[in-house]
């Protein structure tokens, strides 16, 4: 049953990729196909990291409405990129190679996620909505801080980095693609080893410790994976606030299971399908008149309001 449902997802994804690759091909195949292939690859990398990291984050925090992006992870990444440019000015790309910049920001994200974890941990008996509000305000605060620095930065220096900082699905930062793919594969490999523990972590801290899982160590490794994945996706296409919450909840609805082996796979697949469909609609139906993140934010936001209105104590 579950395997068949995952099979359906795989087929759906393949159809989406085929549509995306071959719909409306012009005559200049040797130019278009490689270009499209890179975009397909980027979308797969980004969408699967967002789906994967959202599920892990929700398992650790034991709820279904928190996601890394809602807790402000993406804004932190952009803030650190801005700080680096602020410190080094237009020498940023000489002093630090672009990938070095990326890795440093990832490291900073890890520190941030430990901080977030401490807040969550301290609030364990507290309610989830308070955390959510804290996350949203943190996100806004970091965004404001970034704009604050961006205004202070010399306009000439700023224009140099602007393109690298504000990536989107239409303006992907493909320079980092190979590095991002490498990191993602390593994270998947580590994640694969921890999948069986995730099922236990979902039971909660006390149960997990009772069952002999080294809880703190486990959570730290998982937070590292989340930080890497969010960095990867934010660096490649910029922040997409509501994608994680949308796809994770679709996954819970679609697959009535608690086994992370299936959940993680399905969520990554669904996430890819959603983004491919969105991007396809935008390129061929809306004629690039809008950005996929806007549509996702709209649908995700409405869905989120629905979740809040629906939930009871």
């Amino acid at each position: 049953m579950i395997k068949r449902k995952i099979g359906i997802l795989v087929i759906a994804l393949l159809i989406c990729i085929a549509l995306f690759m071959f719909y409306g091909l012009g005559s200049n195949l040797s130019y278009i196909l490689p270009k499209r292939a890179i975009r397909v690859w980027t979308i797969i990398v980004v969408a699967s990291s967002i789906g994967y990291s959202s599920i892990i984050f929700q398992t650790i925090t034991q709820n279904k409405i928190l996601t890394p992006s809602i807790m402000g992870y993406e804004s932190v990444f952009i803030l650190f990129q801005t700080i680096l440019v602020f410190l080094y000015g237009d020498k940023t790309f000489q002093v630090l190679q672009h990938s070095g910049n990326f890795l440093l920001s990832t490291l900073a994200m890890l520190v941030f996620s430990l901080f977030i974890y401490l807040i969550i941990f301290k609030n364990h008996q507290q309610n989830i909505y308070q955390l959510l509000l804290i996350g949203l305000i943190l996100g806004t605060l970091f965004q404001t801080l970034s704009s604050f620095l961006q205004i202070i930065i010399d306009p000439n220096e700023f224009s140099i980095i602007e393109n690298h900082m504000f990536a989107s699905f239409s303006n992907m930062n493909t320079g980092l693609l190979s590095l991002a793919t490498g990191l993602l594969i390593i994270s998947f490999a580590i994640g694969q080893y921890f999948i069986k523990y995730l099922d236990i972590l979902a039971l909660g801290r006390e149960h997990a410790i009772n069952l002999g899982v080294p809880y703190n160590k486990m959570v730290q490794v998982l937070l590292l994976i989340i930080s890497i994945m969010v960095s990867v996706s934010t660096a490649l296409v910029g922040p997409i606030l509501f994608l994680g919450i949308l796809v994770s909840n679709i996954t819970y609805q679609y697959l009535p299971t608690h086994k992370h082996k299936y959940l993680l796979l399905a969520c990554s697949l669904i996430s890819c399908i959603v983004v491919f469909l969105g991007q396809f609609l935008i390129e061929h139906i809306f004629n690039f008149s809008t950005a996929v993140s806007i549509i996702i934010n709209f649908i995700g936001g409405v869905y989120f309001i629905y979740l809040i209105l629906k939930s009871r104590k």
Binding site: Q143, I152, F242, I305
Partner: protein
């Protein structure tokens, strides 16, 4: 701090605000300004200081009224989608009636703010979990949805690429002849003071206020209209100033208790003072350039909001 001291501080900082800027005017020069200084003084400094005072007082009072209506102290134009609705209204005015003047933009913003506030109030009433943070959470999400719609149209009509950073609050562009719409806010603050008791009562709930003979719906609409007017006038003229309407009423309430009519003058004065001081700092930090007030207040206000949330736990 008593009223007198607060008022003196307000006067003192107003004088500083009149003097600080890329063209500085020393206090002993006030009565012997050369032509250029005089021009800067009358065309820019006086309008700027006045609009800081009016906006600070107006937005803080508006936040306070919203908190009464929503019966939640974390509600404000920032956390209820009102600011996003105003931006959306201005955007639609630009799209559909590009030649419309300042007043037309305000009317558009007003209509959008009012409708958005009504929807927000309706949404709040459907919440099943009674937790104080749910309401601002819902409001922020509501604002995100509105801003996604606005961004969609903005990109489609190629007006602004990014609605998020659009209309950042900034007083540096305030000049004589362009800020007078802000005077709308003065009667609004006066009316709010007049109706303070009624707002206190509807803050206690629908049935309670009806029992005491106050028409709940009438004052709900009056309140929302006052808030929408203030927000529209200020967003059109100076841009978005986040968190101001949230933190000032809460801070005043922390130290002054809950006597709302007594608090209103304090809320207005502290709001004006806070905005004035933030703007003066914004002018000094990277002089001769300026940091927009939206950013200054966004950072300071965000931190204070955190403090308010965490304080609740203890």
């Amino acid at each position: 701090m008593n009223k007198f001291l607060l008022f003196s501080l307000l006067i003192a900082f107003s004088f500083i605000s009149l003097m600080v800027g890329s063209k500085s005017i020393a206090i002993n020069e006030l009565f012997s300004m050369d032509e250029e200084q005089f021009l800067v003084f009358t065309a820019s400094r006086i309008p700027r200081t006045l609009s800081l005072l009016i906006t600070g007082a107006g937005i803080s009072v508006a936040g306070f009224i919203m908190q009464q209506i929503a019966q939640n102290k974390f509600v404000s134009p920032t956390t209820a989608g009102t600011l996003d609705a105003a931006k959306m209204g201005i955007l639609f005015a630009l799209i559909f009636l590009p030649d419309v003047g300042l007043f037309g933009k305000i009317s558009f913003a007003l209509v959008f703010c009012f409708i958005a506030s009504l929807i927000f109030i309706l949404l709040i009433k459907r919440i099943q979990i009674k937790d104080i943070v749910i309401v601002p959470l819902l409001g922020i999400m509501f604002g995100n949805v509105l801003s996604a719609i606005a961004t969609y149209f903005a990109i489609k009509y190629n007006i602004v690429q990014n609605v998020e950073g659009w209309l950042m609050g900034d007083f540096s562009g305030i000049l004589q002849g362009q800020y007078e719409t802000l005077y709308l806010i003065i009667p609004i603050v006066a009316i709010s003071y007049l109706f303070a008791y009624q707002f206190t009562l509807i803050g206690m709930g629908e049935s309670f206020s009806k029992n005491l003979g106050v028409s709940y719906n009438t004052f709900l609409y009056i309140g929302l209209l006052l808030v929408s007017l203030t927000v529209s006038a200020s967003v059109v003229t100076v841009g978005v100033i986040p968190f101001l309407g949230l933190i000032i009423p809460n801070l005043v309430r922390m130290y002054k208790g809950d006597n709302l009519r007594k608090n209103l003058p304090f809320i207005a004065m502290y709001g004006a003072l806070f905005l004035l001081v933030s703007d003066i700092f914004g002018r000094i930090i990277i002089a001769p350039y300026e940091i927009p007030i939206g950013l200054m207040v966004g950072v300071i206000g965000g931190l204070i909001f955190f403090y308010l949330i965490f304080r609740r736990q203890k």
